[in-house]
């Protein structure tokens, strides 16, 4: 826990300066397991899927924390627990002093005025039987606006997301993926949130639409001073938007660092492999890839020790004996690795080499 409080003081984002003391969101020991298999006469669970295991996370006001990992690593489950869409098995979530997981109805409603979520699937995130006006107005329901005021607020929100006001009475199926994402964003913005969880918000979009959307999300952050938890599997997107990055593997956070530090000097073997696996247009040839052996194992009854042992190229005995804690890497207080045997890559082998400042 102590380690994490130091992480909390990691420098906040450049875009919007909020205090360095304490973070907006603090996650401690958050875990979730699902019954994975049922058996016996009564159909009791006989195996558990440990989707998220003992995760600590801090997000400072105004920053963008990117949570990256491959499919099934638990990043969406983590986000949904933070938003209290699904109950957590263990742990706490603290949002600006509010104990989110134990909040009562009123507190929860207040939390949801401040924290909102944007989803991946632009087709599933809008009710097909509601028109745009009704979709956006749903977020206004609790603000006690009269009809005329609500209408003008919807128009205003449509303007914010750069859609024309006359789309208000149209239905979701009449829009493209990018436009639908804008409508979901307008719905989320309706309650004037300060914190937004964006769960793979651009991964269903084409490259050219994706860049427009990323720019747009960045503008919103500037305009409204938003804090983002940005979930993605796309390393190049993360590199462009994030201030800090947390890498997840099979339900655990294995490494966190400021974005340049993480891309420039990845320490965890998994992060190293992940970065080197990303196909890029800027690296010469595939020769530098670290190709991991084997498949991502299932999170059903995972090993008690390090979860990466099965695929790791730097495994030592202690990896099979205990869970490596997420600790400061040598010399820095803001780069944490959960590995007993990490080693920096030689210069020039560190993943993508973009022209980042």
């Amino acid at each position: 826990m102590e380690i994490e409080s130091s992480a909390a003081s990691t420098q906040p984002s450049s875009s919007s300066g909020s205090g360095t003391n304490g973070s907006l969101l603090q996650v401690r020991g958050l875990s979730k397991s699902f019954p994975a298999e049922r058996g016996g006469l009564l159909g009791r669970p006989t195996a558990w899927l440990s989707a998220v295991d003992d995760v600590d996370l801090d997000i400072a006001a105004g920053e963008t924390l990117a949570l990256v990992g491959e499919s099934g690593c638990g990043k969406s489950t983590l986000a949904r627990m933070i938003m209290r869409l699904i109950p957590a098995t263990a742990g706490t979530v603290d949002f600006a002093g509010l104990d989110v997981l134990n909040a009562d109805r009123q507190e929860l409603l207040r939390y949801r005025q401040q924290a909102q979520m944007i989803f991946q699937d632009p087709y599933g995130s809008l009710d097909p039987r509601m028109n745009v006006d009704a979709i956006i107005a749903e977020g206004l329901a609790r603000q006690g606006l009269n009809k005329a005021k609500r209408r003008s607020r919807v128009r205003q929100l449509l303007d914010v997301v750069e859609l024309s006001a006359d789309v208000a009475d149209r239905y979701p199926h009449e829009f493209s993926g990018g436009q639908r994402q804008r409508i979901s964003i307008a719905r989320a913005l309706a309650v004037n949130p300060t914190f937004i969880v964006a769960d793979e918000p651009v991964s269903a979009l084409d490259v050219s639409v994706q860049s427009t959307m990323l720019n747009f999300l960045h503008d919103l952050q500037d305009r409204f001073g938003l804090t983002y938890l940005f979930i993605s599997h796309d390393m190049s997107v993360v590199r462009h938007v994030a201030d800090r990055v947390a890498v997840m593997y099979l339900g655990k956070i294995v490494e966190t660092a400021p974005v340049e530090e993480l891309f420039g000097n990845p320490l965890h073997p998994y992060t190293q492999a992940l970065l080197s696996s990303v196909p890029t247009v800027s690296r010469e040839g595939p020769s530098e890839r670290i190709v991991l052996e084997g498949d991502v194992p299932s999170a059903i009854d995972p090993p008690e020790a390090c979860r990466f042992t099965g695929r790791c190229f730097r495994v030592i005995d202690s990896c099979r004996a205990a869970v490596p804690p997420l600790e400061d890497s040598a010399g820095t207080s803001h780069h944490h690795v959960a590995c007993f045997n990490y080693e920096a890559l030689p210069r020039g082998r560190s993943g993508t080499q973009g022209n980042h400042s």
Binding site: F34, P35, A36, E37, R38, G39, L41, G43, L49
Partner: protein, 310 residues
């Protein structure tokens, strides 16, 4: 898998218990027991009382239920009050008859529905397909008792090919089995057809074509195998449907199965017999549902995938 079968079996026993409670209390507490009926026939108050005594109808209900179950399990549920025939005999004879009839109908259904549905899907929108579909819609629309009297008039009365009614050999079985099968046959043809078409639209079908397989092999090996899964799953609905209709069809054909006997005994308020028949009928239903369930599990290689929740 074994655990699953066991679990289903225990559940089936539990269902049977609930059903027996329902059947017992339902038909015992029913307004007017058999003594009322006999009283109206014989008009003897005293006789009625003795009869009640004899039949144990004055005992408290839980005790009566206990006796009922004990008699049933020991293989001696008593005699029919109306005819005096031992109930075990009636159960045995009618049970065999109904199982014969039901099994014939089920065989007709699947023997015809699977190839016809597959054929209709294969030749989608051809005249043959349209004919099959039209007949299927018709088969679902015409009530089977109406169909029964039409068939009796045509094949039994006019043409004399089959007997009009009664239990007996294979010839007696033909008309009732066909009538019983027809609606389920229609449903299953449609189900099979849509199931094949659903399979045909799946990604792996494109792989099969890209491999250079013949259309015939794709349909009769791959599409058939996969579209059977929902059809077998649906057996859990079709079998109770067929069994339920034996109640009507057996009455029309005076085919002395469980259905016929049950309707008779209810008409006669012969509740001891009715209870036993209803319970036997329920047991047959529960058991066939159990079989259909297991069959479905066996057919689908992805069974274990589904028991893993995720």
């Amino acid at each position: 898998m074994t655990a699953y079968v066991l679990r289903r079996f225990v559940y089936a026993i539990f269902l049977l218990f609930i059903a027996s409670l329902f059947v017992f209390y339902g038909l015992r507490v029913a307004p007017g027991d058999v003594t009322d009926y006999i009283r109206t026939v014989t008009s003897g108050q005293e006789f009625g009382e003795t009869l009640r005594e004899q039949l144990g109808l004055n005992e408290p209900l839980p005790a009566q239920y206990f006796v009922f179950v004990k008699n049933y399990l020991s293989g001696d549920p008593g005699n029919s009050i109306i005819t005096g025939a031992p109930i075990t005999e009636i159960l045995k004879d009618s049970g065999v008859n109904t199982v014969k009839l039901g099994a014939s109908a089920i065989i007709i259904v699947y023997l015809l529905a699977i190839p016809l549905g597959l054929f209709a899907a294969w030749r989608r929108n051809s005249p043959q397909d349209q004919t099959i579909r039209f007949l299927a819609v018709l088969g679902m629309g015409v009530p089977n008792f109406f169909l029964a009297i039409l068939l009796i008039q045509l094949f039994a009365v006019k043409l004399g090919w089959f007997p009009v009614a009664g239990p007996g050999g294979l010839r007696h079985l033909v008309l009732p089995a066909v009538v019983l099968a027809l609606e389920s046959l229609a449903i299953n043809i449609r189900l099979m057809r849509s199931s094949v078409l659903e399979e045909a639209a799946k990604d792996y079908m494109r792989t099969l074509r890209a491999k250079g397989l013949r259309q015939r092999r794709i349909m009769w090996a791959h599409a058939l195998r996969n579209s059977l899964v929902p059809v077998v799953a649906f057996a859990g609905i079709v079998i109770p449907l067929i069994l339920g209709y034996t109640l009507i069809v057996e009455v029309i054909f005076r085919f002395q199965g469980i259905g016929f006997q049950l309707v008779e005994s209810i008409q006669n308020r012969d509740y001891a017999l009715a209870q036993s028949l209803a319970l036997l009928f329920t047991a047959v239903v529960i058991f066939s549902n159990f079989l259909a369930d297991i069959g479905h599990q066996l057919l689908d290689p992805r069974v274990r995938e589904r028991t893993v929740a995720r």
